[in-house]
């Protein structure tokens, strides 16, 4: 379990002073003070402590989940450049969009403008990263905290629908009651309840954070994060009345009650966030650099939150993949570079790790539009504090006979990736086990060993990474499909 975190203390309203005007005064002083001291992380922590009462102790792991939506083409992201047998199959399947150039000259720089199929960036003589990812490739070599988990996916239903695939990944499950909560939400239910900003989505409401008792907050931008009111008489009174609509325990009918509870959370979250100094945005609102800078601001301020979710879309590259993938990976590279520039060298750098994944990979062969269609197996990237760099899992075979409808077949259950992350967050495999549930055979999910340190020890009995031996790839389970009905209806 993470160290205990005190719940935030809401400032009381003094006589003759509204709660909101009191907060504005405190927040303004803190923000000005922090800015004057160049946003020193120690100062930020002190400011946070003074402002909202609770801080996340240094040494507590923090996850920033980055979702690449649309189905990132992992084969053109982590490229088999010198892998016996695999490289030949890769190139023959992709005569028009396969990446054929390599560089080993470090440090790697950004690709030449206009070159949408730039030279790949060598990692280990066999595998290379797309040329638009120099930040990750340099970090692989220079820092050694980049881990590539190959072959991640699922062999339960082998779904190739964006929406079902995400539903499974957000839930960390394939049916039943677990579908109503998210894999991170269930962890927070056990480890992080009672926090005003205990779970943060940087990309709107997020189902991975859906929980029973640990509500999540969506923050698009810290600037303007709060209820707005211009030109109304008695503005403070007005804003207090907006807050008064909210009732965290509302039992009002249907969505009136839901709205009342949401208004209460929105009011409380704005109160807490008001004291958080803003770090450099690094990009326009909604961009990945901007999302991650918001996460960095909250992390450096010591907000008691272990789970952040960010998103980068546009990976559904059915057509014109060279340009589209280059453009998306360029933003991913920029976002990561900016984020770690705000973290590296600070006391929390060793705590914070980023997990990057997508709903599935894409088919091996290219289509008529210089693109690729939906596939199955993908890959997952860990980077940051505590990560032991290297390749994990097993790259799926590209042999035609080993593909399923031209898609690579998963060798590592994505839920083992989750178990690895949760073990790091909570430091307790039993907590992970409780949050995740078991696989279709009743077995817990294994830790992949990505992190240094003790969390990997003491795994629940029977835990194993699916397919880690390269042989025991479980068969598809179409019989489970019947359990999807509640999800499908719930999405309408």
């Amino acid at each position: 379990m993470p160290p205990s975190m005190r719940p935030p203390t809401r400032p009381s309203t003094g006589a003759g002073l509204t709660r909101r005007s009191f907060l504005r005064g405190v927040g303004g002083v803190l923000a000005a003070g922090a800015a004057a001291r160049c946003l020193d992380p120690f100062v930020l922590g002190a400011a946070a402590e003074e402002s909202f009462g609770a801080t996340l102790p240094v040494g507590t792991p923090v996850l920033v989940l980055v979702e690449l939506t649309g189905g990132c083409d992992i084969l053109n992201t982590v490229v088999p450049f010198g892998v016996p047998t695999t490289t030949g199959l890769y190139r023959s399947a992709r005569p028009g969009i396969g990446l054929t150039q390599l560089t080993t000259t470090r440090p790697y720089g950004l690709p030449t403008p206009g070159d949408y199929s730039p030279p790949c960036l060598d990692l280990d003589g066999q595998w290379a990263l797309h040329g638009a990812l120099p930040f990750l490739a340099n970090r692989w070599h220079d820092v050694g905290d980049v881990a590539l988990v190959q072959g991640t996916g699922e062999n339960v239903v082998r779904d190739m629908s964006h929406f079902a695939a995400w539903a499974f990944r957000w839930a960390g499950a394939f049916g039943g009651t677990l579908m109503s909560t998210g894999w991170l939400g269930r962890y927070n239910d056990l480890a992080n309840t009672g926090q005003a900003l205990g779970a943060v989505s940087l990309t709107g409401a997020h189902q991975a954070l859906a929980s029973q008792h640990a509500p999540s907050v969506a923050i698009a931008d810290l600037d303007g994060f709060g209820f707005q009111a211009q030109n109304v008489p008695d503005r403070d009174r007005f804003l207090d009345d907006v807050g008064a609509f909210g009732d965290p325990a509302s039992t009002a009918v249907h969505k009136v009650g839901v709205a009342s509870r949401a208004l209460a959370l929105a009011d409380q979250a704005a109160t807490v966030a008001a004291g958080v100094p803003r770090l450099a945005a690094g990009g326009s609102s909604g961009s990945l650099p901007h999302q991650l800078s918001t996460a960095a601001s909250l992390i450096q301020a010591g907000i008691p939150c272990q789970t952040y979710v960010a998103s980068l879309g546009g990976f559904d590259t059915h057509g014109s993949e060279p340009y589209n993938l280059w453009e998306r990976l360029t933003e991913l590279n920029a976002g990561l570079a900016h984020f770690f520039s705000l973290l590296d060298g600070t006391p929390r750098a060793a705590d914070v790790f980023v997990l990057i994944h997508s709903e599935f990979g894409r088919q091996v062969g290219q289509n008529a539009g210089q693109g690729t269609d939906h596939g199955q197996a993908s890959g997952t990237i860990f980077v940051g504090g505590g990560v032991r760099g290297g390749r994990y899992g097993e790259a799926p075979s590209l042999a035609v006979a080993d593909r399923d409808s031209d898609a690579m077949v998963a060798t590592v259950d994505f839920r083992s990736v989750y178990a690895t992350a949760l073990n790091r967050l909570g430091g307790d495999p039993n907590l992970t086990d409780e949050a995740q549930g078991r696989d279709e055979s009743g077995q817990p999910f294994a830790d992949l060993g990505v992190f240094a340190g003790p969390p990997a020890a003491g795994l629940p009995e029977g835990a194993q990474a699916r397919g880690a031996d390269g042989v025991s790839i479980p068969p598809a389970r179409p019989d489970v499909a019947g359990d999807l009905r509640p999800y499908v209806v719930a999405q309408v």
């Binding site: 190739m160 629908s161 964006h162 929406f163 989505s201 709107g204 409401a205 907050v217 969506a218 923050i219 698009a220 931008d221 303007g224 994060f225 209820f227 707005q228 009111a229 211009q230 030109n231 109304v232 008489p233 008695d234 009174r237 007005f238 009345d241 907006v242 008064a244 609509f245 009732d247 509302s250 009002a252 249907h254 969505k255 839901v258 709205a259 009342s260 949401a262 208004l263 929105a266 879309g313 559904d316 059915h318 057509g319 289509n367 008529a368 539009g369 693109g371 269609d373 939906h374 409808s405 898609a407 179409p478 499909a481 019947g482 999807l484 009905r485 499908v488 209806v489 999405q491 309408v492």
Partner: protein, 450 residues
């Protein structure tokens, strides 16, 4: 059992975009059944009469015009007066279909393409869902949005084939039995059948190129289909058991907020039929007893579009097509009507009650309600008609109940009434305070529900 007033307001929220006080009074006079019939019978507003700007006017102008049509109808002046040509039910159905058969502005999809798509959706009540689907999958918007113009016999592109089955017609699994409706091989075979459609970048039209069509034999959805093309795909789809369940279940959820049980799906299937009779199905849904029951009232969440349109109708706010800030504000609320996030449409339900979205809505509601006022409460331009009405016809003591009645909010919790009363009585009763009170109503839990 909800009051007649609550039921009338519910009908207007679900079949339109919210009532005005005049609508409620009229509905109470005619009764719920007659009100439903009158909404179904309103004359269809043809695309030509809808008043969309030229395609060259751009996305924002088109989206703004659509919001105006939802709120006031084609001859709207922003006065809040119900236009004789106003057809809220047609606008509601069009909007539902925009979230079901999805095309959005993206990459090579231009305003003219989406304009054409919306034109077909607007006519759906006079056609069948089968014919609508058959048409739009070959139109420029869909062809480009789902890269169907890059689907050739040598290298099939599965984008359109997959979404046609998953999102537009059958669904992944049958809503009644839970059985998988199709396999990946079905997607491949259907995609082969849909190959050959091309887009002419010169004149912006689509055409069928037989030389790029895969004329080989195909097997999909459980049977050999010979040298199948689009028509054979549509025939196989409408013969599939889920044809009578998937889209009806979605439309049932849209109108009632409830998940359709197997019994409900069986009951609705004859109304839908082999061709997908939209109007008949929707009427069958609305005529079911649960539609006006307590089970359904306020069991949905307003989307940003629904908030803005309902607020415009309440306030008589005229800026839907003209306010330069609205497109930016809609984007900030993550629901630009002509730019859905992906082919499955916009988020649904409680996701719209996330913190950032509520904060953003407070900004939009403030812009709308405080129209014409400056920082010191002085009016510097035209104010919304409802502001004047509230200021002149209510007192501080009666204002809270008065504004709720104007907004059709019933029932209202004591907490909400007390909060509104607190603000109404906190200072001098001025037009600006009346505007602030209306602003506050737009942020109440009762308004956010639908």
């Amino acid at each position: 059992m909800a009051s007649l007033e609550a039921q009338v307001a519910h009908i207007w929220r679900r079949l339109g975009f919210g009532p005005t006080r005049k609508d409620i009074n009229a509905g109470k006079g005619m009764g719920t059944a007659a009100l439903v019939d009158s909404l179904f019978r309103r004359p269809r507003v043809d695309f030509a009469a809808a008043g969309f700007p030229p395609a060259s006017a751009g996305e924002d102008a088109h989206a703004g015009r659509q919001l105006e049509l939802m709120a006031f109808g084609p001859t709207a002046t922003g006065s809040g007066t119900l236009s004789p040509a106003y057809n809220p039910f047609q606008e509601r159905v069009t909007w539902i279909l925009q979230g079901l058969v999805v095309v959005g502005i993206a990459d090579s999809v231009y305003v003219a393409d989406l304009r054409d798509h919306v034109k077909h959706l607007r006519g759906a009540l006079g056609a069948t869902y089968r014919s609508l689907l058959r048409t739009v999958v070959t139109r420029p918007g869909m062809v480009k949005y789902l890269t169907a113009d890059r689907n050739t016999k040598d290298h099939p592109n599965q984008n359109l084939g997959r979404e046609l089955l998953e999102l537009f017609s059958l669904g992944r699994v049958d809503p009644k039995t839970g059985a998988a409706n199709y396999t990946q091989q079905d997607v491949i075979e259907v995609s082969r059948a849909l190959s050959g459609w091309r887009y002419d970048w010169g004149d912006g039209s689509t055409w069928f190129d037989p030389s790029q069509w895969d004329g080989g034999n195909k097997t999909f959805l459980g049977a050999p289909r010979g040298a199948a093309g689009l028509d054979e795909v549509m025939a196989a789809i409408v013969a599939h058991p889920s044809w009578r369940r998937h889209v009806p279940a979605r439309l049932y959820k849209e109108l009632t907020g409830l998940d359709a049980t197997p019994a409900v799906l069986d009951a609705l299937a004859p109304s839908w039929g082999a061709d997908g009779n939209l109007k008949r199905l929707l009427k069958a849904i609305v005529k079911r007893p649960e539609f006006l029951s307590d089970q359904c009232l306020l069991n949905k969440t307003k989307t940003p579009v629904e908030r803005v349109v309902a607020a415009a109708r309440l306030l008589g706010w005229p800026g839907l097509a003209t306010d330069v800030n609205l497109p930016w504000l809609m984007t900030r609320m993550a629901q630009d009507p002509w730019s859905p996030p992906n082919v499955s449409g916009w988020p649904k339900g409680d996701q719209w009650l996330n913190t950032t979205n509520l904060h953003s809505w407070s900004d939009v509601a403030n812009l709308m309600a405080l129209r014409g006022f400056r920082w010191d409460g002085a009016a510097t331009g035209p104010v919304n008609p409802m502001v004047t009405k509230v200021h002149t016809r209510a007192t501080p003591a009666t204002a809270a109940a008065f504004v709720c009645k104007q907004a059709g909010l019933t029932p209202v919790s004591p907490r909400t009434l007390d909060t509104l009363h607190d603000y109404a009585t906190a200072g001098s009763w001025t037009p600006a305070r009346a505007a602030g009170l209306l602003n506050l109503v737009l942020l109440s839990p009762e308004f956010l529900a639908n």
